[in-house]
Amino acid sequence: MSNAIVKKSLLSIAIAGAMGASVLAQADVVIGVAGPHTGAYAAFGEQLWRGAEQAAKDINAAGGVNGEMIKLVKADDACEPKQAVAVANRLVDFDDAVGVVGHFCSSSTIPASAIYEEAGVLMVTPASTNPRVTDRGLSNVFRVCGRDDQQGDVAGAYIISELNAKRVAIIHDKDTYGKGLADATKAALNNYGLTEVLYEGLTRGEKDFNALVTKIRSVDAEVVYFGGLHSEAGPLVRQLREQGSKAIFVSGDGIVSNEFAAVAGSPEYINGVLMTFGADPQSYPAGKKVVKVFKDSGYEPEGYTLYSYAAMQVVVEALKQNNLDPIKGATWLKSNSVSTVMGVKDFDSKGDLKVSDYVMYEWDNMGNYAQVN
């Protein structure tokens, strides 16, 4: 036997071994749950994880995906684009994930989604609302939440017709999500013929916005619209009140966390803060049972928890109907509807929901939010 043949046969044994290993690995359906599990935005990561975990538990209890059990992998992007790319690669290469629920921040979802497309992994984000998430024409990207241009329209219409505001200051956090949302609202307001009196960015991670607040005061704004997340919205609204401004604070779905009051220092500061968010996900009849399970376990399914549950259902349904093939599943989703805890969801050719349902919520002085009638 010549050396070459020995090498070849060794190689084939190695290949067979590797294939055997991958067959073994496929005994589970691996689905990644990607989001900020640590860092300043970890509260949102927890919402994502709780929802996805409960969904996986329920689906596994009902027999899994075509008889195979779901195995969740927690992928932490800390809401940072760099880390999002790293964990996306890890999910794809190391964990052999076929589906991903996530990411949370649009600035993480956008770079990560390209990696999932390359690897043929189905991605459903429960929370990334920036238009560019789906506007880039990737075949594998879906979301079970609305888009910021829709959200901006709702906020703009509310500011014009309900608040009758003439002087609006628009502030954003210079991030993909925050600036995108602020721009969408700005465009909506401009369409109504209203030009904002101030348009400025602040730095994520800072706590002192007093200089900006004084500036907002100096332009005498009646409404402050903020595109960003609760960790900056909290100090901002507090410092507004401390400097004696009574401007109405309006924001988007980035502040929908029970931590908002704590970060602002006291629920009194956020009393009357308005925000746009999807119609109460807990109100869908299909979700009543799941909401009860959460509440019985002592967890209030706030914010994006049920979105994450629904995203998991979408991923699983697409895999189930297409023999665990995520690429076929992505095509299938564009022409079929999926019933979730948040009702029946239909996707258009880009991966956006056909129907979105943004409404206005108001925070009270106890640190809770309720829909504005």
Binding site: H37, T38, G39, A40, Y41, A42, A43, K174, E200, G201, L202, T203, G205, E206, K207, D208, N210, A211, L212, T214, K215, R217, S218, H230, S231, G234, P235, R238, E242, Q243, G244, E259, A262, V263, A264, G265, S266, Y269
Partner: protein, 303 residues
């Protein structure tokens, strides 16, 4: 007019806090010639200690603000000082006689250790403490008004008291004289009977105490913090220290105030998007004309 005044007040409070943290950078640099990159994280640790002490005090039913702030200041300064001492013992003392680069890398390592240790032990979530002191003084000026919260007044008062006390210690006491001697010539100082290792430890404790002072004030004021909060403010304070002349104590305070005020004025009058660009440009321009900072002395190579 009222807006400019308000921005000056904003800048002054922010700047006095930058100054307090900058003291830690500048003193450590002055005495052992290295940048203590873990200093911002010492500030972060002090924010957590503040929250824990406040929670403990209210657990024991103490409600009055003066007692809370004094108690928190003492306990937090003591514990953070111990952190400063321990960091020096663990990360820098073993490297005392090696190059500056090793100490620098050790500092970055220490910074990562502190961040991750707090993240794991305290949770990665955004933390908040309730407002302790509400209310504000308001001055009407023309059509507008300047509003300063009582907490901001406390910040200014405590920060300047802290800086004043430290200046007194360094310039008038025996300990201060030993610090200055060690800074000027460590070898000569040790020949003259000064325990320079001990002085270096004390300098670390002083730096950490000043960061703790800032940590208590900022945490009581803004109420929100997380394990990453030391990074941005650390970079800003470091900039302030370099701006004022690293190694110079009054320079650090001056640098902090200049940075805070110019940042606030720029954000308030021109654009808050580019305020960091402005503060770092200011640093570059000052370093072009005064390479050792505003009050720094040019380093003379000893032959």
């Amino acid at each position: 007019m009222d807006i400019v005044l308000q921005q000056l007040v904003n800048g002054l409070t922010l700047g006095s806090v930058y100054g307090l943290i900058a003291i830690g950078y500048t003193m450590v640099y002055g005495i052992i010639g290295m940048i203590n990159f873990a200093h911002g994280d010492v500030y972060m640790v002090s924010a957590y200690i503040t929250a824990i002490v406040v929670a403990l005090l209210s657990f024991f039913g103490i409600e009055s603000f003066p007692i809370i702030i004094i108690g928190t200041l003492f306990i937090t300064i003591a514990i953070t000082g111990a952190y400063g001492w321990a960091i020096e013992q663990i990360a820098y003392r073993p490297l005392r006689n090696s190059g500056r680069l090793s100490a620098l890398i050790s500092a970055i390592g220490m910074s990562l250790i502190l961040q991750n240790y707090v993240q794991i032990s305290q949770g990665a979530r955004q933390q908040g403490i309730p407002t302790m002191l509400t209310g504000a003084v308001r001055f009407d000026i023309g059509d507008g008004f300047v509003q300063i919260t009582y907490m901001k007044l406390v910040i200014l008062l405590v920060a300047f008291l802290g800086m004043g006390t430290l200046t007194y210690i360094i310039h008038k006491t025996k300990l201060g004289r030993m610090c200055r001697a060690t800074q000027q010539d460590r070898k000569m100082a040790s020949i003259l009977g000064i325990n320079t290792d001990r002085i270096i430890s004390i300098v670390f404790v002083i730096g950490a105490s000043m960061a703790a002072l800032a940590g208590v004030l900022i945490t009581l004021d803004y109420g929100a913090f997380d394990f990453y909060v030391g990074f941005i403010i650390g970079i800003k304070a470091f900039t302030a220290a370099v701006l004022g002349g690293i190694g110079s104590l009054p320079g650090a305070m001056l640098g902090g105030i200049i940075l805070g005020v110019s940042e606030s004025l720029f954000a308030g009058l021109i654009s808050s998007d580019y305020k960091d660009v402005f503060s770092f440009s200011l640093l570059v321009i000052i370093l072009i004309f005064r390479p050792s900072g505003l009050l720094g002395k040019p380093e003379v190579e000893k032959v």
